[in-house]
């Protein structure tokens, strides 16, 4: 019998340090070690190729495509520098480009207060963005009043057109999508049939077809003097198109709300608008944020389809730069497409990060309620 209790030994400490981490995570077995080495080799190959192309073998200066014409030439950056104004604004007159920048500033002034939770004045920013900003932006961009020179939409191009189409598409498609989703679940047959018919029609047709219809067929049917601006036609079509997709996403959210919520709202004697606006939609929309953001991102990228009806968005402008004889060279096309891809990526990644932030913030509220419920 032991005279005294054995002092418990300290548990063997987990080996620390980077070497231990490597052993645990990357080289835990022979096969894993092999895969790690293979992956490292692939990454090395890709990174050296990319760095070599973008920096080491790149051309930084030159008057035209001849500067980028040689064997093994990397990126042709002076092409991007030369065309940068075109990529951003299209043929918008250089002297008037300040107006476009002002529109960007005005948009940010409305968006930032809405997007950053700590900043007050959400109501006023929303009113400004919905009612004031579109008017201001139209006046500033298009001109023709208040002594501003009129700039027809043919002159708009590049990133400006991409942003105009996608932002107005999002702004119009979101409320329309909600209405269509509610309409599809409505008990009124005509409203329901119309919503179902519209959604199913639009989802059954590719966007390219719809844009083609708008640009090629429509002018044949309507007289010359009624002709609608080409960009406006594209805007309307893009908005209607994404509204149909968004409606289905939102309908998914509506279906996930338990019946009890509807019944409770009815029992409280709320009207239809109150029930939807105060109880159902806030929950449903929160549920489908990833789906909504998905739709927005794909809308943003789909804007480059307007290229086929002769509107020069960012990608269209890049392609237009590629076809100008001045910068024809073996390195130019790749450079142009990489640049366009990078700009698209920055925007889409930004939207995606913000939606993650939003989800975490809204989900935090949800988690707290669950935790409290468990305590009982």
């Amino acid at each position: 019998m032991a005279g005294s209790a054995i002092t418990p030994a300290r548990p063997p400490g987990a080996p620390g340090g980077p070497i231990a981490w490597l052993r645990a995570n990357l080289f835990s077995s022979w096969s894993n070690a092999l895969l790690t080495l293979l992956a490292l080799w692939l990454i090395y190959q890709a990174v050296t190729a990319a760095v070599g192309w973008a920096f080491l073998h790149a051309t930084w200066e030159g008057p035209d495509g001849d500067a980028c014409t040689r064997e093994g030439a990397g990126a042709c950056w002076p092409f991007v520098a030369d065309w940068f104004g075109q990529f951003m604004y299209g043929r918008y007159p250089e002297a008037q480009r300040g107006r476009v920048n002002l529109v960007y500033v005005l948009a940010l002034a409305g968006l930032l207060p809405l997007m950053i939770p700590q900043v007050p004045g959400k109501l006023w920013s929303s009113i400004y963005l919905i009612a004031v900003f579109p008017v201001l932006a139209t006046i500033l961009l298009s001109g023709g009043v208040l002594g501003l020179e009129h700039v027809p939409t043919d002159f708009w191009g590049g990133l400006l057109v991409t942003l105009v189409i996608s932002s107005s598409g999002i702004a119009a498609a979101f409320p329309l999508g909600i209405l269509l989703a509610l309409g599809r679940r409505s008990r009124m047959p005509i409203v329901r049939w119309l919503s179902v018919g519209f959604i199913e029609f639009v989802r059954g047709v590719p966007l390219i077809t719809v844009l083609f219809m708008a640009s090629v067929m429509l002018p044949l049917f309507i007289p010359e003097r009624w002709s609608i601006d080409k960009l406006l036609r594209a805007l309307i079509m893009v908005a209607l198109f994404s509204a149909a997709y968004l409606a289905e996403v939102i309908r998914g959210g509506l279906q996930a709300i338990p019946r009890g919520q509807f019944e409770a709202a009815d029992a409280l004697g709320l009207t239809y608008a109150q029930k939807m606006g105060l109880i159902i939609l806030p929950q449903a929309l929160k549920l489908v944020i990833p789906g909504i953001v998905n739709s927005f991102i794909s809308l943003f990228k789909d804007t480059s389809l307007v290229l086929i009806i002769g509107i020069f968005d960012l990608l269209g402008m890049v392609q237009s730069g590629l076809s100008a004889p001045k910068w024809l060279s073996p390195a130019t096309p790749m450079t142009g497409y990489v640049f366009a891809g990078l700009v698209f990526w920055i925007f889409c990644f930004g939207i995606s990060r913000y939606s993650h932030f939003l989800e975490r913030r809204l989900a935090a509220g949800g988690q707290r309620t669950v935790a409290k419920a468990d305590e009982h």
């Binding site: 014409t69 075109q86 191009g157 083609f212 002769g310 020069f312 100008a324 130019t332």
Partner: protein, 341 residues
């Protein structure tokens, strides 16, 4: 018949009648003058023909034809609104009166001239299918391509022309067919074939995209007819005549040696052809519905045909396409304009 039914019938009748209303419109010349602007359909982007430069200015052979027409009709070559049209929408845009003229490297064919409601005003560029080969192959003519492998894009007339050419010359050949022109070009660059074929104007811009442009040559043989020209609507004879004579004025100016630089001195010339061209003799401009300075303004603004060619596709451009068939008939080419008299 109920009121509702009657209303529906009226609406339907109105809708059907609308195109009829639209076709009883004013003449193109009047609407251009009224608008103060020529609406010109151009290619979305084709090196040498119509492409925007880094300042957003449309440049190229076709773009300068738009300028020439605007200079003749409106007195200012800058009063042009360029509408970038794709291959598929170009004819509809012209038919639906969105455009006044279509200057978009369009091949003149019987079918387009008859069934599409278009009238081509002439040929402003004689294009045709040719071959590009590596200099090292030491080939001087397409007829020496016996046994060669040719890269070509599938499903185009290019592929058919190629087959016709080799068959009629009783030559053996192999083709590598690709879905996209880029892929065909890549295969040529990777030495999978000895030659790449497409329209000659395209071959010269393709050559600039090679790592060593000087190592490739475009063969002189042209195996197909691709006459490119501006087109207008068939229903307006007056406008057709104006655009046609803008083209002829450009050619006649080159033949008479009138250039952008010397056109003002040429006003004092005693040569009858020059005097008639520049409106010093006769009332030829009035006959067109313009004034007699019409051709002077064209030359003043864009120069003659040779100058336009040299500037955009010829020696002054990076494309550096030789005049070849596009020279005047006096220099062995095909361009020949009826006289102004």
């Amino acid at each position: 018949m109920t009121h509702l039914a009657r209303a529906v019938v009226w609406c339907a009748a109105a809708l059907i009648a609308m195109p009829g209303v639209a076709s009883a419109q004013q003449r193109t010349l009047d609407s251009v003058k009224q608008r103060g602007q020529l609406v010109c359909g151009v290619n979305v982007g084709l090196a040498g023909f119509s492409a925007q430069d880094d300042k957003g200015v449309w440049t190229g052979l076709d773009a300068d034809y738009c300028r020439a027409i605007a200079a003749a009709v409106l007195g200012d070559g800058n009063k042009v609104r360029y509408v970038a049209t794709t291959t598929k929408e170009r004819f509809t845009a012209l038919q639906s009166r969105e455009l006044d003229v279509l200057a978009r490297n369009t091949t003149w064919t019987l079918q387009r001239d008859s069934a599409q409601g278009l009238s081509f005003i002439g040929v402003n560029y004689y294009d045709g299918q040719g071959f590009i080969v590596k200099k090292s192959a030491n080939v001087k003519s397409a007829k020496e391509l016996a046994g060669a492998t040719v890269c070509v894009q599938s499903g185009t007339t290019t592929e058919l022309n190629l087959a016709d050419f080799f068959r009629s010359n009783k030559l053996e050949y192999k083709t590598l067919v690709f879905e996209k022109s880029d892929e065909a070009l890549k295969a040529y660059q990777a030495d999978r074939c000895d030659s790449y074929t497409t329209d000659v104007s395209g071959l010269y811009s393709v050559r600039l995209q090679m790592a060593k442009p000087a190592d490739h040559v475009v063969l002189p043989d042209i195996i197909s007819k691709e006459p490119l020209g501006p087109a207008v609507r068939q229903d307006d004879g007056q406008w057709f005549t104006i655009v046609k004579w803008v083209h002829f004025a450009l050619l006649n100016a080159e033949e008479a040696g009138v250039t952008k630089a010397n056109v003002d001195q040429m006003l004092n010339s005693q040569v009858p052809d020059v005097r008639r061209l520049l409106g010093k003799e006769g009332d030829f401009g009035k006959g067109l519905g313009l004034d007699n300075d019409w051709a002077y303004r064209i030359i003043k603004h864009v120069g003659n045909y040779g100058e336009i060619f040299d500037r955009h596709v010829g020696p002054d451009s990076r494309l550096n396409i030789p005049r070849g068939r596009n020279a005047l008939y006096t220099q062995g080419g095909l361009h020949y304009a009826p006289p102004i008299r």
